[in-house]
């Protein structure tokens, strides 16, 4: 039930983001979701794409430092308290969220949120026990 996320190291300099997106465009890869974490001198671009292997190869060939991390895509009811219900289920189990970002697409009536947990497997179990829908990678890449 995990989703593969690609992360790319970027120096904080003009054109950095442009280079990554150009490489992906030229490889015909579609970005499903993205988030950029940055400090004063570097950034980490995190991406969910329709073709993880293809993206990783294309970026590596162009000399980018690329990592792959399992994350979890969760359906969040699009109403007040939707996110809270999910966090409650997780904190009960003592799972920590390292970072999270929202997906552009929706899944029916629900929003999709990407989570990186410190203990991924336990998090998935806790979410499913609480009746939360965790989306498999195959579904996420094709959204």
């Amino acid at each position: 039930m995990k989703v593969d996320q690609i992360s790319v190291f970027l120096e904080n300099k003009p054109g950095g983001l442009e280079d990554v997106t150009r490489v992906l465009a030229e490889a015909g890869i579609n970005i499903r979701a993205l988030s950029l974490a940055d400090t004063s001198d570097f950034g980490i671009l995190r991406l969910i794409v329709d073709d993880t292997d293809g993206a990783e190869t294309a970026l590596q060939e162009q000399g980018f430092r690329v990592g792959r991390t399992p994350v979890v895509a969760v359906e969040v009811p699009d109403r007040p308290g939707g996110f809270y219900g999910i966090m409650k289920a997780l904190s009960k189990k003592g799972v920590n969220v390292e970072y999270t970002y929202a997906f552009v697409e929706r899944s029916g009536e629900n929003a999709i949120i990407i989570f990186r947990f410190d203990r991924t497997d336990e998090a998935i179990e806790a979410l499913q026990d609480a009746g939360v829908t965790v989306l498999p990678g195959s579904k996420v890449y094709a959204l």
Binding site: Q5, S7, F9, L10, E11, A37, D38, T39, D41, F42, I44, R46, G63, F64, R65, V66, G67, T69, E98, Y99, R116
Partner: protein, 433 residues
């Protein structure tokens, strides 16, 4: 003013006779007490008896920094430890530092030479000396301290750091002289001005500054901003510490080498042959009187030129021009000596780091800065910012712990730093000194 009138103004002939006598003694002594020198002399086919004139010094082999490292820590000491009363060391990772020792008489000699230097700068026993050289393994702090006491001046043992406190003491204790690196003198001026202190109105009138390269332009700025006369002192821990040579306030053109205690040569760094009179060469020192850690023809890698002409101050001692550069890649950052290879050693000591790095040295305002750029290797990359920041902090801490310099760390993209086929140039020195 001259502290040691007798020795500092000896006629050249008498001085050279004294040098020869002392050279013969030290060569004889190291041949019998230090295994390294016996082996080196034997390999060069030279015996102590072969030294019949000062020019014969060229028959002796050079001693290099590597020889000092190879004999870490005490291999080159010429006296038993029971006769050593003090040790100092240069910065370096374990096993790479150079350690020097002093007997009671060595400390006495060193103190005298620094007292001479203070007097050459125009100081007397009536002065109050603010000593902002670091106390500890570095020779600057204790060296200047003992010299000030020897002179009979009042010394304030400030050591480095705590700049605000230094400025308070400069105001309250009213020192008339300051010892520190030139860049720290400028930093004090800048910080004082920022605190609203009229730095020119302080009682300071003399700066005895050294331990890093500087220029006339920098001297002028220090003199204007602090309202002092700024003079250059030179030395290196291997040879003794500060006080190997000193600029006089009368001449302000070159540093008088205390030739009754040291022989100085200027050589071509490639051929090892002496350069022509007055040309720039690498300075080579032989200690004539040191007991615990005598050095024979030590290659300093410092570039300078020697001036034999008489000086208006009356000293007959040869002068060396202010150091104009290095014949190796050593960097001096805020007075601390650092080799790129030492930084590489620290980087490679951290698991997962690759030896792709670049050093950017610059001067922000008045202080030297060191930035270490390291490529993000496969093994250290993470999708989490805090993990990468942890690596940056670890590098900065190790560099500080092992080498004593503060560096800012910048992670850069893979392959973004230049690759070299021959000798790598990993240092970009942007300082305009």
């Amino acid at each position: 003013m001259i502290y040691d009138e007798e020795f500092e103004t000896l006629p050249r002939e008498a001085l050279e006779a004294l040098q020869l006598k002392r050279l013969q003694q030290v060569v004889e002594r190291v041949y019998h007490t230090v295994g390294f020198y016996r082996k080196a002399f034997d390999e060069a086919g030279v015996k102590p008896d072969d030294i019949q004139s000062l020019d014969d010094i060229r028959k002796l082999p050079f001693t290099n920094k590597q020889d000092l490292k190879d004999n870490y820590p005490f291999g080159l000491f010429a006296v038993p430890m029971s006769n050593v009363v003090r040790m100092h060391a240069s910065s370096g990772t374990t096993g790479k530092a150079t350690v020097v020792g002093y007997t009671k008489r060595d400390i006495e000699t060193w103190s005298t030479l620094i007292a001479r230097s203070f007097v050459a700068a125009g100081l007397t026993k009536n002065d109050i000396i603010h000593n902002a050289y670091g106390y500890g393994l570095f020779t600057g702090g204790l060296g200047a301290h003992y010299g000030a006491e020897k002179l009979g001046a009042s010394v304030i043992p400030m050591s480095g750091g705590s700049t605000k406190r230094q400025i308070m003491i400069l105001q309250d204790f009213g020192p008339t002289a300051i010892c520190c690196t030139p860049s720290y003198a400028l930093y004090l001026a800048e910080q004082g001005e920022e605190m609203g202190v009229d730095m020119k109105a302080l009682r300071l009138r003399v700066g005895v500054l050294g331990a890093e390269p500087w220029s006339d332009r920098m001297r002028q700025e220090i003199e204007e901003r602090l309202g002092i006369s700024a003079l250059d002192i030179y030395g290196l821990s291997e040879v003794m510490g500060p006080g190997v040579s000193m600029e006089c306030s009368e001449g302000r053109n070159g540093l008088h080498v205390y030739e009754d205690h040291f022989i100085v040569e200027a050589i071509d760094p490639v051929t090892g042959e002496p350069v022509k009179n007055g040309e720039v060469g690498e300075l080579v020192f032989t200690t004539l009187t040191k007991e615990a850690f005598p050095l024979i023809r030590y290659r300093t890698k410092d570039l300078s030129r020697l001036m034999k002409e008489a000086c208006r101050c009356g000293r007959t001692l040869t002068r060396m021009a202010r150091i104009s550069g290095r014949s190796d890649d050593m960097l001096i950052i805020r007075g601390v000596n650092v080799f790129p290879s030492q930084i590489e050693g620290v980087l490679l000591g951290i698991e997962g780091l690759e030896p792709h790095y670049e050093l950017i040295v610059d001067r922000e305002g008045t202080l030297d800065t060191l930035e270490i750029r390291v490529e993000v290797g496969e093994h250290i990359f993470s999708d989490e910012v805090k993990e990468l920041q942890k690596i940056e902090r670890r590098i900065a801490k190790d560099v500080k712990d092992y080498l004593g310099v503060t560096a800012s760390i910048k992670l850069v993209e893979p392959k973004s730093l230049k690759r070299f086929e021959g000798k790598a140039i990993r240092v970009i020195d942007k300082r305009k000194i």
